[in-house]
Symmetry: D2
């Protein structure tokens, strides 16, 4: 694993502020558990509303968590006055997401000028064990000079 | 677009029953808008809890909707006494998911014995226009002899 | 399918010149069969060296063809003095690539400022029929002010 | 990294025999450098015919190598009398494939009954250094009771 340096010394506050501006993260009860330069972990506790027909966490929810972790792992390395957009991601489902808690962890593999490549994994914690549920690859865009705040407006994703 | 025949004459009821057993779909307020052999559309109305920091639908939520539409498009073609699991999916984000409503539509491209390949797209409806937000490819597994009901147990995803 | 306008009136020559500078395309015997703004088709005839153990075209070769078609479909829409790089691609294999000829066709779905999203499909032509072998999604980067010629040097993929 | 056990004690011979039946691997000059249960490495030396317009290894060739390494890493864990098919793969391009040699390495992440999930990476070796060119995720199908030999016939990919 490559060790990355943050360009923005306030990266942690910038990431936490952005996370707190995502109503969907609050809606599902997710919290940002760890942020370091190029690495992010997001955790969510099991609740009935997050499950599918077999009682597992819903696959879409699992991939959402991984996508958010990847977005913030990338964002931690961005310069000031920038925002992050997902270009694409791919996820493989390895095992049922059956547990009391989900932990998504993502790491930057390659930081380009515009494009950041990341890997991400999600683990279900059950009875003290970690079950590997999902592995994925994510491409994130760094948008310079664009605000991360809600007033970005509709011209946001013209990348 | 290939036209597919359902193997199970009750496919619509089977799909609607399964959908109604997914607490996550109710949690986000999604409803199954259309189901035909090999095609499914799922719709969700905008609410604050589904958005990200720019006020758009959250990307993870958008991909969740597409994954569910793909799962049910595949499931509509399965024989009786089977269930569906996502093997993997890949999504590209094309435009911001900015609108009053999201519509995910998925179609089977290829129905194999075990593996179904699907495409899926999500559109945001805004002021009477459709904005193409996401396009993706999905691989779904057909698990024969496995119940779709919650008592499937923990051996479910040993595919 | 969206209809795109080329920014560069010489797009066809630019694309054909670039194609002719790809030794790998000559090595496998591929030729550029059609180029229009945002659309490209590449064809290769069957020869023993392109096959795998079952006598079909090798999957890697099939995806190579799709990747090249996607790259040139994107490149046809780029401004002058630019080059194209694949950010990532995803391919699903639908049927064996069993035929006398392969045809890869790719179309731009979304042309952004930096990122172009494309779909691509490969068909095997056998006894006058088309077999759908592969479908995929491709993300291409537009690198402005970079030469497409061999002297680009090693700083090329710092996108 | 999980350590896997081969089901077939002759796995190495089975894999090497299959590799030697792939004319495309010979065509590009690739050789199977290492095979262990669930891990495979394939190497190819640089030659002009494998390059693209900037003089790097062609991206399609790079992904072909990764796909083959993934296929054989999976195949090493299969039981006797089976063959391997790629369901889908996704590759992210990280750096230009600029070097004297390419090495693709793939490892099984999850071995299911039918579906194997793998990761794969390709490195360019240049002046004694390894450049990380590609990372990808691969889904492979295990086809039981199907021959890996050329007489498999046209019913092969009905998975």
């Amino acid at each position: 694993m490559t060790v990355f340096q943050a360009q923005n010394p306030n990266f942690e506050q910038v990431v936490r502020d952005s996370f707190s501006r995502q109503p969907f993260m609050e809606f599902i009860g997710a919290h940002l558990d760890m942020i370091k330069p190029g690495v992010c972990e997001i955790v969510v506790e099991r609740q009935q509303g997050l499950t599918q027909q077999h009682g597992f966490f819903h696959g879409g929810l699992v991939s959402s968590l991984a996508d958010s972790a990847a977005g913030y792992a990338a964002y931690s390395l961005y310069p000031e006055n920038s925002t992050v957009l997902t270009v694409d991601f791919k996820v493989n489902f390895l095992n049922p997401s059956d547990g009391e808690r989900l932990r998504a962890r993502s790491e930057v593999i390659r930081a380009g000028k515009k494009i950041y490549h990341l890997k991400g994994d999600v683990y279900a914690e059950r009875d003290g064990q970690n079950i590997h549920c999902l592995t994925g690859l994510f491409s994130m865009m760094c948008l310079l000079g664009k605000s991360d705040a809600p007033n970005l407006g509709r011209e946001a994703r013209t990348a």
